[in-house]
């Protein structure tokens, strides 16, 4: 299944997956997945636990290699390439469990995240504090994710919500144009979630965004297309309204989650 009608030029897609398979031992986690994501669109991947949502992210971002199939970022093959190469081509991801530099301060986490894109690479002959553009960008990001008061706090000493904000901050810091967000609002309260969705929407404007999300309210607010993954197979790909009305989705998703999708997500909080 594809998100756009056949015949459209490949250049319109930020990301394409063709026949992607992934097995762990004898278990097929992802089966023959075809997925195309149009440039600038926002796709949410939903599905019951164990459907392979995070595995799809791992395959795209290079954390693991597909056993079969191909993945293109714009017009570059990226399947099986190392994570840092994929990032350099313009793809960035966040994690369900925050992956921060725990013993670095907030500002240093952000500085590390912007260095590559600003062309400083593995520089060891200039002081970090002297790199004006890096510091400006990191400070700007810090203001955007509202962590300015915690500038010099170590990442490990932040509250849970602050860590989630920093996780999102370093994900978008490099200016990648394809962004994968793995349950960005997991574990947040209702009010926090609402504010955070606003933040995501504001800071990823114009970018291609893929989100794995349990919370259907978040899905409806963030995504213009919803992909439903069940047992490693894509069973629906459509607008949120259409997906919600799809009887197959209702059966698969409700059967597993035992909650109406519109009732405000599963009971994380």
């Amino acid at each position: 299944m594809t998100a756009v009608p056949a015949g459209q030029a490949d250049g319109a897609f930020a990301l394409r997956l063709r026949g992607v398979c992934k097995n762990y031992g004898k278990t097929a986690v992802i089966r023959d997945l075809d997925l195309s994501v149009a440039r600038g669109s926002s796709l949410a991947i939903i599905g019951p636990n164990g459907a392979g949502k995070s595995t799809v992210f791992d395959l795209i971002s290079g954390r693991s290699k597909p056993d079969a199939g191909a993945i293109w970022l714009h017009d570059q093959r990226i399947d099986g390439r190392p994570t840092h190469t994929i990032h350099r081509l313009g793809l960035s991801r966040s994690f369900q469990v925050s992956q921060l530099f725990t013993r670095l301060s907030v500002i240093d986490n952000l500085r590390c995240a912007v260095l590559w894109r600003m062309g400083y690479r593995y520089m060891f002959w200039r002081a970090l504090s002297g790199l004006r553009d890096v510091n400006q960008r990191a400070t700007q990001l810090m203001e955007q994710i509202a962590l300015t008061p915690q500038r010099d706090t170590l990442a490990q000493a932040l509250t849970y919500a602050e860590q989630r904000a920093l996780e999102f901050g370093i994900t978008i810091a490099g200016g990648a144009d394809v962004i994968l967000l793995d349950e960005p609002t997991a574990g947040m309260g209702r009010g926090e979630t609402q504010r955070f969705i606003e933040l995501i929407r504001c800071l990823t404007r114009g970018k291609t965004v893929l989100t794995v999300e349990h919370d259907m309210d978040v899905v409806f607010e963030l995504a213009d297309t919803v992909a439903v993954l069940v047992q490693g197979e894509l069973i629906a790909l459509d607008s949120p309204q259409a997906v919600r009305a799809d009887p197959r989705v209702q059966q698969a998703y409700l059967g597993a989650a035992a909650l109406p999708p519109s009732a405000g997500g599963h009971g994380v909080c």
Partner: protein, 421 residues
Amino acid sequence: MTVTTRSWRQTALRAGPWWLYGAAWLLAPLFFPSSFSLGLLSQIGIGIIVCLSYNILLGQGGMLSFGHAVYSGAGAYLAIHTLRLLADGWPVPVVLVPLAGGLAAVLLALVLGWVSTRKAGMPFAMITLGIGELVWAIALMAPSVFGGEVGISADRDARPALGSWTLGPALHLYALVAVYTLACTGLMYGFTRTPLGRLLNAARDNPQRLGFLGFDPRMVRYLAFSIAGGFAGVSGALTALQVEVVGADMLSSQRAGTYLLFTVLGGTSVFAGPVVGAVLMVFALAVFSAWTQAWLLYLGLGFGLVVMFMPGGIAGWFAAGGLRRAGWQLRSRPLDSLLVVLAAWMAATGWVAMVEMAYRLQLRAVMGERVDFFFWQLQAASATSWLLCGAAAVCGMFALARLLRAPAAVAPSNAAMERRT
């Protein structure tokens, strides 16, 4: 970033520790002019360079290396061979020999580091251990180059070091070591403030995430490893200039273990930690070992205690406000604090005396039976001495355990401390 403009006074104050550090190196020869103490001071400088370089790996990069002596040893061997060539009439000033040693070590680290830094964590530690043993074995197999167990010797003052100035006198060598120590300390501190220095911390904390930010964590480790190897080479070359003989033990993993032990003792989380560690290293190896046969035992015990009760090392303890906490203790509960100190002293005295007596019983022929201990004279063969010391040790430990069991008496929480102050 809001770049705050600092006045020159603030800048000077912030650089305070550096002024002290520089002044200490400048003034030390005035207070310790004997060639023995100048030799010790030179050893301290050399130790500071190598421990700081080791901490680039351990503290800043989270890389536990058992093979760091390979690089200090490489610098030492290159230096000693260069000295021999210089004696044959090569027109190179001796003051540049440490630089050559550093360069050689960088080149070696660029080769061996490519293998070592493929992995982080435990595999890294094992690879460095393997390479360390390998290099040591090769050194023993090629005595013409490495001199075997005896080593290769050369004269540091066979040629002028710079102009007509030779390195012969201890003071001259000290001056050279001091200059190199200050320069290397400055450079390594500078390194911690560069992009690569910060990325190295990031690779320590979460290498996977660093990969998702465009950096290859392996390349970060590799470059840092080579830089650390280079500084180790400088220190090795200075060692060669000081002792004028280099043997295979310069490359041994036992030596690398010594770097590890004293770097941890000084503290890996603070830049100055390895400086503290290096001072302790020279005191332990050169001074303390002359006082008592049992110095390794005390060293092991002390190391264990520091690891258990000061997880950040000695410098880390100070940096985390340990002194302030201790002072607060003393002021708020002077009697309890005094009792704790007394009990600890009693237990330690008892144990130390028994250890000393046990050593004398073993080595009666060499050391005799008398133990001169503060104001007392103990006899290793006398039951009274043993009873007395045993009683002191047991009572002291018992009292200490009782005193420490009441937690409020000894260790108030930070929060409690904040409330009171």
